[in-house]
């Protein structure tokens, strides 16, 4: 039995009258690609900040690779790399200076080989001697990722790393992060792009109002919460509506079903009622639907 990469037990945090975290319990295994999802204000960033030591919880404990983030903060922080949500940078330094300085903060000297490797992986080698001010937003985002990796932490937390990032950079970033995960790094991701979370994360926790309202593997969440949909375009939509269809986009009617055997029955009922089928398509369950259902039911 290996230690969990992250263990969060009964963590609460209140800002005045706002209960940001209302007793969060969570364990993330080593090597997982884990998604932390939730609407704005759900407590994702507060939870990550508490893990990183930027916020002090009112109650509860947080551990990184078995090290308490408060009482054993040095060991906990050495094992954690955080990519912050905001595009922050220090305008006084070049990219390489920044990475060397960041290594030094973590007590490490002489890791230029690793810095070179990170720079190459993030396509930053040509920018290594440029001042941070001269970089584009996308490049600055890459440097933030590089900074989180300079001490080669086993656990990496990415707080909405692709917010406002163009498609090409996003894809490159995910390729790199997936490689880190394959190499054994535990990845914790928060994002509003649910498609990304669905594609990348093996397990997902959903937060609402500072509480975990769903926690399962991505596959189980898709199975448990989301239904398939049969979308039809028919000559007489009122008949489809009378059979339980709901209005979808641009004149399409949608029927929810759980197993593919139900499709035949639905089509038979439409034909017998004289709805006049023109077009049809099947919709797979996706995380967006799961998310909406979980948030409504929580």
């Amino acid at each position: 039995m290996t230690l969990p990469a992250i263990r969060i037990s009964g963590v609460t945090k209140r800002y005045g009258t706002l209960q940001a975290l209302g007793g969060v319990d969570l364990e993330i295994e080593q090597g997982e690609f884990f998604g932390l999802l939730g609407p704005n204000g759900a407590g994702k960033t507060t939870l990550i900040s508490a893990l990183a030591g930027l916020v002090r919880p009112d109650d509860g404990t947080l551990e990184v690779m078995g090290h308490d983030v408060v009482s054993d903060y040095r060991n906990a922080r050495r094992r954690l790399g955080v990519v912050p949500q905001e595009l922050v940078f220090d305008p006084f330094f070049s990219v390489r200076e920044m990475l060397r300085i960041q290594s030094g903060y973590f007590g490490i000297r002489g890791n230029d080989d690793w810095i070179d490797e990170i720079l190459a992986s993030l396509d930053l080698t040509a920018k290594a001697h440029q001042n941070m001010r001269a970089l584009s937003g996308g490049m600055k985002r890459r440097v933030l990722v590089a900074q989180a990796l300079v001490h080669r932490p086993p656990v990496i937390v990415l707080d909405e790393p692709t917010a406002g990032v163009d498609v090409e950079l996003r894809q490159g970033l995910w390729q790199f992060i997936r490689k880190l995960n394959r190499d054994g790094h535990t990845i914790v991701l928060t994002t509003h792009y649910l498609e990304e979370a669905e594609t990348l994360c093996g397990r997902i926790a959903m937060l609402k109002g500072g509480r975990v309202v769903a926690l399962d593997s991505t596959a189980n969440l898709l199975q448990r919460f989301a239904t398939h949909t049969l979308s039809v375009r028919v000559a007489r939509p009122e008949i489809a509506a009378s059979l339980g269809g709901v209005n979808g986009e641009a004149g399409w009617m949608e029927f929810a079903f759980e197993g593919y055997l139900e499709v035949e029955t639905l089509l038979t009922r439409l034909r017998e009622a004289g709805a006049g089928l023109i077009e049809m398509r099947l919709g797979e369950p996706d995380l967006e639907r799961v998310f909406v259902e979980v948030m409504h039911s929580a």
């Binding site: 290996t2 990469a5 800002y15 295994e29 080593q30 090597g31 997982e32 690609f33 900040s49 990183a52 030591g53 930027l54 916020v55 002090r56 903060y73 040095r74 060991n75 906990a76 922080r77 050495r78 954690l80 955080v82 912050p84 905001e86 922050v88 940078f89 220090d90 305008p91 006084f92 330094f93 300085i101 960041q102 290594s103 030094g104 903060y105 973590f106 007590g107 490490i108 000297r109 002489g110 890791n111 080989d113 690793w114 900074q147 001490h151 080669r152 086993p154 995910w174 997936r178 995960n181 394959r182 190499d183 054994g184 790094h185 535990t186 990845i187 594609t199 990348l200 994360c201 093996g202």
Partner: protein
């Protein structure tokens, strides 16, 4: 479609990078803080030296025959250590306070909050960098004044002691102001309504013996007066009050402020919510 992680539960064995060096975190933060002001040395060192020289030229010219320092000591010579110390103190304060407020406002303060730096390392690095900037400016003022005045150096160790202790006091005050202020405006208020009057009214331009008794008493309540007076003693071997008293007052003020600042940092006041 990319594959989903299959690593759950697998032990992670990542080789370390580089080599771990004792106190590397503190030394790096100190290096970064020094580099930060050194990269803009025209603004952070040269400009304050120029300001002090302008003060020297104007005040020495206007007041030379009207204001007395210490007995036989030429007024211009009397003025120079005061100006050097005033610049040292103001720049020590400016260094830590401006670094922290800039980092807070731009958000890059997370770069020093995420690593495993202790609050003592954090404090020491900011304060020592402030002392160094103060000393650079102070020494700069003394050097550029050489052509204008003959300045004795009776007790160099007293000069060093008050320079370092005064810089550390103002560096600590800068850490408090940088943490407390949420915007540049608040920091400017701190600088203009507290630091500036206390330094200007500390005997930089005159000996407090030339003041009426009431203002002499008021001056004795100003810790900056003891910093200037003790610093000046190192040059002339004479002062308004005993240098030991000045050392005790400045030392006590520094320790009290350091304890307060460390307590703020240990609690994470305004830095770690």
């Amino acid at each position: 479609m990319p594959e989903v992680s299959q690593h759950a539960g697998r032990p992670v064995d990542l080789p370390p990078v580089g080599r771990e060096v004792p106190l590397a975190g503190f030394r790096t933060l100190l290096y970064k803080e020094v580099l930060r002001f050194w990269k803009v040395a025209f603004q952070t060192v040269a400009a304050p030296v120029l300001n002090a020289v302008l003060f020297l030229l104007i005040f020495a010219h206007v007041l030379d025959r009207h204001v007395t320092g210490y007995g036989e000591v030429d007024y211009t010579a009397f003025l120079v250590p005061g100006l050097a110390m005033m610049s040292l103190l103001q720049n020590a304060f400016a260094n830590s306070s401006s670094s922290l407020i800039q980092s807070k406002i731009t958000g890059n303060i997370v770069f020093v909050l995420l690593p495993p730096l202790s609050y003592r390392e954090f404090y020491s690095a900011y304060v020592i960098a402030s002392v160094l900037r103060g000393l650079f400016v102070g020494v700069g003022v003394l050097l550029v004044s050489i052509p204008f005045v003959h300045l004795p150096l009776a007790h160099p160790l007293w000069v060093l002691a008050f320079g370092v202790l005064g810089g550390a006091f103002l560096g600590s005050l800068g850490v408090i102001a940088g943490i407390q202020a949420d915007k540049f405006d608040q920091l400017a208020a701190f600088q203009n309504f507290l630091i500036m009057p206390l330094t200007m009214l500390s005997g930089v331009f005159y000996s407090i013996h030339s003041l009426p008794p009431l203002w002499q008493d008021v001056s004795h309540a100003n810790p900056f007066f003891y910093m200037i007076d003790g610093f000046r003693y190192g040059f002339f071997g004479q002062s308004d009050v005993s240098p030991w008293l000045s050392l005790a007052v400045v030392g006590f003020c520094f320790v009290a402020l350091a304890v307060l600042t460390l307590a703020m940092l240990a609690r994470g006041y305004k830095l770690r919510a």
